[in-house]
Amino acid sequence: MKIRYLAVVIFSTLFVADLKAQVKKPIHHSNTAVSVARGKIVYGKICLACHMADGNGVPMMNPPLVNTTYVLGDKEKLITIVLNGFKEDVEINGQTYSNVMTPHKDLTDQQIADVLTYVRHSFGNKASAVKVSDVKKVRVAGKG
C-alpha cells in the first residue's frame, strides 16, 4: 500500500510538473516578442552549437554573448559579424576567445534581425531589437 501511495505521489508530481511546463505564459503580441520567438529557432539551429544554450560560449574558444558590448553595443558591427563571420582573437572580460566564426550571408535579413533580437533579449541581456531594415542597410552597404 505504501509503495502504491509513493508511486502515485511520484507520478502526480511528474504530471503536475509537466502540466506546469505546458501552461502558456501570456504572450504580448508585440513585434519584438514575435521576433524573439522566431529568433530562438534560428539560434537553436545556427548558433547554439558553439555559443551554447545559455549564451555563455566555451572558454578560450567561443565567446559568450552575455554582458558584452559586442552584443549589446553597435548594431551595425553586430550585424556585420553575423554576415561576414569573425576571424580575430577577441577579448571579453579578461578572457581571450579564438575560434573562427563562419559567415552567415545565407540567412535572410529577417532571420538575422530575429536571431539578433533574440540574443539581445536573452541570457540576461536587455538591448533594443534589430530590425530587418537595419540588416538590409548593412548588407546593401557592402559591409556585410
Binding site: A7, V8, L14, A49, C50, A53, D54, G57, V100
Partner: protein, 419 residues
C-alpha cells in the same frame, strides 16, 4: 492487478531513472565494480582520491620525480611563474618552488633534464642529482618557431629512449575548409596537423632541423611513449560540426557522437588522414570526410592508418599515460589512462567526457573495452564553462600513485589504491 497498475504508474519513473543512469557517462561500457566517492570523484572500489592542491592556476601536464617532487606546467603564469614544484608527502603537497615565465602544456623529464614547451618553443632545464632544477633562470631553448595560430596552439611533448623529443603541432583549423576551398588538398599539412621529431639535446632547432614524423593529426594533446613496444602513441581530438556543415548526411545525434576521438599507434611516416578522413566508432570504420566527397557511408582510402582504439565524439583527450606502477591491481599494469577534458561540441545533446578513462592493454596494444576510471569532475554542471573541474594532465608517482590535474579551477588530485 494492483501490481500491474503500479508498474504502469512507475514506468515513467523507471524511464527517467534509466535515462539518468544511462547519461552518467554516456556510452561507457558497463562497469560492475563498485564505485566509491572520493574528493568528489567516483572511483572503482579500493581506490581513493585526495585533492592535494587547489587553486593552483590552470595546471596542464605534470611529471613526478623519484623524490616525489611534482612539476606542474600552468597554461599561463601564476604570480609571474609558469612551472610549480610541489613536494608530495602522502596526502600533503607543499609548494617548494616556482620558476619559468612561459605558460604552456608540455612537460617531461628524461636523462637528467626537465623539458617544457610553450605554444611555439620547447625548452629544457638541467636537473641536479636530486632531480631539482639547478638554474631555473637559464632554460636552454631546444626548438623554436613552431606555428601557433589561435587554434590548437599547445605543443604537447614526449621523449623516446634514443635521444629524440616528439612535439605536436595542431592544425589551426577545424577541417581546413578555410584554407582549401577548392578541395585541391589541404595546404597547411606541411607545417601543422602532425607530430615532429627533434633531437632532445640540440639547441634552437627549427622545422627544417626536425623530422615530420606523423601526418594528418588534427590536434594531439595527450601523447606518450609506450615502453613495451617502444612506440609513440597519440590521442587525436576529432573534428567538429558534421551536422552543422552537412545536415543532409548527419543527424544532430550522429554529430554529437562522431567522429571518434582516436588513439593511434604511430610509426614514422604514418598519416592519420585529417582533414580527408575521420573515424566512425559506431561503424568501426575509417570514413571519407564529407568535405572531400564522403556521405557518412563511404570508407576512407586505406593508405590512412586506422586508430588502435576509439572513443565517443568530442570527449577531448588531453592526457595520456601508460601505467607502469605496482600499486594498482594487475589489470592496470601497462594499460593506458586517458584524461578527457570534456566536450563542448555535443549541444544540443548533453555534454560528455569530463572523466579519466582506463584502456586495458596487452603486449603494447589496446586489448578489450575501455572503462571510466574516475568520474564526477564536472559536478552538477557538465558544460565547458560551468564544470567544477576538467581533467587535463596525468602523471605517475614513484610509488605508483596517479596524479590528475584540473585546468578549470586548478585542483590536483592524487589517486591511490589500497587492497
Amino acid at each position: 492487478m494492483k501490481m500491474k497498475k503500479l508498474m504502469v504508474l512507475l514506468l515513467p519513473v523507471f524511464g527517467i531513472i534509466g535515462l539518468i543512469v544511462f547519461n552518467a557517462c554516456k556510452d561507457a561500457p558497463a562497469s560492475f565494480s563498485k564505485a566509491v566517492a572520493s574528493a568528489g570523484l567516483t572511483l572503482p572500489e579500493g581506490f581513493n582520491a585526495v585533492a592535494i592542491a587547489e587553486n593552483t592556476g590552470s595546471p596542464r601536464h605534470m611529471v613526478v620525480t623519484p623524490e616525489n617532487d611534482l612539476y606542474v606546467h600552468l597554461a599561463g603564469n601564476k604570480k609571474g611563474k609558469s612551472i610549480l614544484v610541489y613536494h608530495v608527502d602522502g596526502d600533503k603537497a607543499t609548494l617548494k618552488s616556482n620558476f619559468a615565465d612561459f605558460g604552456g602544456t608540455g612537460i617531461a623529464i628524461k636523462d637528467g633534464y626537465l623539458y617544457a614547451s610553450d605554444n611555439t618553443d620547447v625548452f629544457r632545464f638541467k636537473l641536479n642529482s636530486k632531480n631539482e632544477v639547478a638554474n631555473p633562470d637559464q632554460p636552454e631553448r631546444i626548438v623554436t618557431g613552431l606555428l601557433s595560430r589561435r587554434m590548437h596552439e599547445p605543443k604537447a611533448i614526449c621523449l623516446d629512449n634514443d635521444g629524440n623529443i616528439y612535439v605536436n603541432i595542431g592544425a589551426y583549423s577545424n577541417i581546413c575548409s578555410d584554407f582549401d576551398p577548392d578541395k585541391k588538398g589541404c595546404p597547411i599539412l606541411d607545417s601543422a596537423a602532425g607530430i615532429w621529431q627533434f633531437k632532445a639535446n640540440k639547441p634552437d632547432q627549427h622545422y627544417g632541423d626536425g623530422v615530420h614524423y606523423a601526418w594528418g593529426l588534427r590536434n594531439v594533446v595527450g601523447l606518450a611513449w609506450n615502453q613495451q613496444d617502444n612506440q609513440l602513441f597519440v590521442m587525436q581530438h576529432g573534428r567538429d560540426a558534421l551536422h552543422d556543415l552537412f545536415p543532409q548526411f548527419y543527424s544532430v545525434h550522429q554529430s554529437a557522437e562522431l567522429p571518434a576521438e582516436c588513439m593511434f599507434a604511430i610509426k614514422k611516416g604514418d598519416n592519420a588522414g585529417w582533414p580527408y578522413v575521420y573515424y566512425d566508432w559506431m561503424q568501426h570504420k575509417n570514413m571519407l570526410g564529407p568535405e572531400y566527397g564522403g556521405d557518412g557511408k563511404k570508407g576512407a582510402d586505406p593508405k590512412y592508418i586506422d586508430p588502435v582504439a576509439a572513443y565517443p565524439g568530442h570527449y577531448a583527450p588531453d592526457g595520456l599515460l601508460f601505467y607502469t606502477g605496482n600499486q594498482f591491481p594487475e589489470k592496470y599494469k601497462n594499460g593506458a589512462f586517458i584524461a578527457f577534458h570534456g566536450s563542448w561540441n555535443r549541444a544540443p545533446e548533453p555534454q560528455a567526457g569530463y572523466c579519466v578513462v582506463f584502456q586495458p592493454f596487452k603486449d603494447g596494444k589496446p586489448d578489450g573495452k575501455w572503462e571510466v576510471f574516475a568520474d564526477g569532475f564536472a559536478g552538477a554542471n557538465k558544460s565547458p564553462g560551468g564544470a567544477a573541474h576538467r581533467p587535463c594532465g596525468l602523471a605517475q608517482g614513484p610509488d605508483g600513485s596517479l596524479y590528475v590535474s584540473d585546468d578549470q579551477h586548478g585542483t590536483i588530485y592524487k589517486i591511490t589504491y589500497k587492497k
